[in-house]
């Protein structure tokens, strides 16, 4: 199944190039250069992986990550940055990011992480569904 990816970075040329390469690898990519628009998309639909730039105008990656983890905890976030510091990486992981990748990213490494994100999200969603079914069975007393 094609991985559904949301790619968020304020550098339009970067987003366009990376999105095209991901699509050539069979992924279903939604590209976004405006962080607020990206958060609206996250609220409206589901993604297997969100590749998010750490520094953007208005809302930075850490703020966006907090919002995503609060509203859609099952979605997996991979933070991208041209400003890779150990502190930011640790902060991002503590906040629930699945991984942290430094720019320029290796497409094979990134693709691998996206596939892992999809698998992780599927497990979380399956567990949630199982819990829901068990809850319904309990309530109905079947």
């Amino acid at each position: 199944m094609a991985e559904k990816v949301l790619l968020v970075d304020d550098e339009k040329e970067f987003v366009e190039g990376l999105a095209e390469r991901m699509e050539l690898r069979g992924m279903n990519v939604t590209a976004c250069t405006n962080p607020q628009e990206a958060l609206d998309k996250v609220d409206a639909e589901s993604f297997d992986a969100i590749v998010l730039d750490l520094q953007m105008p208005g809302i930075d990656g850490i703020e966006a990550l907090k919002h995503i983890k609060k509203t859609r905890p099952e979605m997996q976030v991979i933070l991208l940055s041209g400003h890779a510091t150990v502190e930011k990486g640790i902060e991002a992981m503590k906040l629930g990011a699945m991984d942290f990748v430094e720019k320029p990213a290796d497409i094979n490494v990134l693709t691998d992480k996206i596939k892992k994100a999809q698998a992780k999200k599927m497990i979380i969603v399956e567990e949630k569904t199982k819990e829901k079914v068990e809850e319904i069975i309990k309530q109905k007393g079947w």
Partner: protein, 210 residues
């Protein structure tokens, strides 16, 4: 209390570090775009090796994008070089307008993260004597505070004047009051550079006078 020399040195080093970090970030972005575009070209060539037809226009378009990023990278490095050489002489003839243009270029990322745009008015060179590095540091500190004061989605305008041997840089477009502690910190910095500050809350203007 007056700043001690080690503190002044430390302030200078911090400023140099802050600007270097912003430059490295911009260069990383340039490299990331070149990396994706060169990679995309490689993807298409691999597909061509497997028998898929490639549209030459597509390759031309990608190569054009790479050339644009190389120009962008070159201009960032030129600014970086000018900034690095600004510590060469402790005093020389300076053009305040040129120095402001350089500082604004170096602070573009910081301003854009806060969604503030900075425009610079046309003017003749505004010349004087001074230490280019510390003058840049003062302009940058003033601009950073003005960016915070302007607030999201607002614009700062910079104008210059040179009358009777007095040069001035006017930053227009402040929205919120500048906190008193920040203003007194700026005034100390200005004294160190041999400049003075004028702040007009009602006109939303900060003036640096040399």
């Amino acid at each position: 209390m007056e700043s001690t020399t080690p503190q002044k040195d430390r302030d200078g080093l911090c400023f140099f570090g802050q600007i270097s970090a912003a430059i490295s970030h911009d260069l990383k972005n340039v490299l990331a775009i070149i990396n994706e575009d060169a990679g995309l070209m490689q993807d298409y060539l691999l597909m061509a090796n497997q028998g898929m037809e490639i549209n030459p226009d597509k390759l031309g378009e990608i190569a054009g994008k790479i050339l644009i990023q190389i120009k962008r990278g070159d201009s960032i490095i030129k600014n970086m070089n000018r900034f690095a050489h600004s510590v060469d002489l402790p005093e020389c003839e300076v053009d305040y307008r040129e120095l402001t243009l350089l500082v604004v270029s170096l602070l573009t990322r910081i301003a854009s993260r806060k969604s503030v745009t900075i425009s610079i008015a046309e003017s003749d060179p505004v010349k004087g004597k001074g230490d280019p590095f510390v003058i840049q540091m003062l302009i940058a500190k003033c601009l950073e505070i003005c960016i915070d004061s302007a607030g999201k989605d607002n614009e700062l305008n910079i104008e210059f004047s040179n009358e009777a041997g007095n040069s001035a840089i006017k930053i227009i477009g402040l929205s919120n009051p500048v906190p008193a502690d920040q203003l007194s910190g700026l005034e100390k910095n200005a004294v160190n550079v041999g400049a003075s500050l004028g702040f007009s809350p009602q006109d939303k203007i900060l003036i640096i006078k040399f």
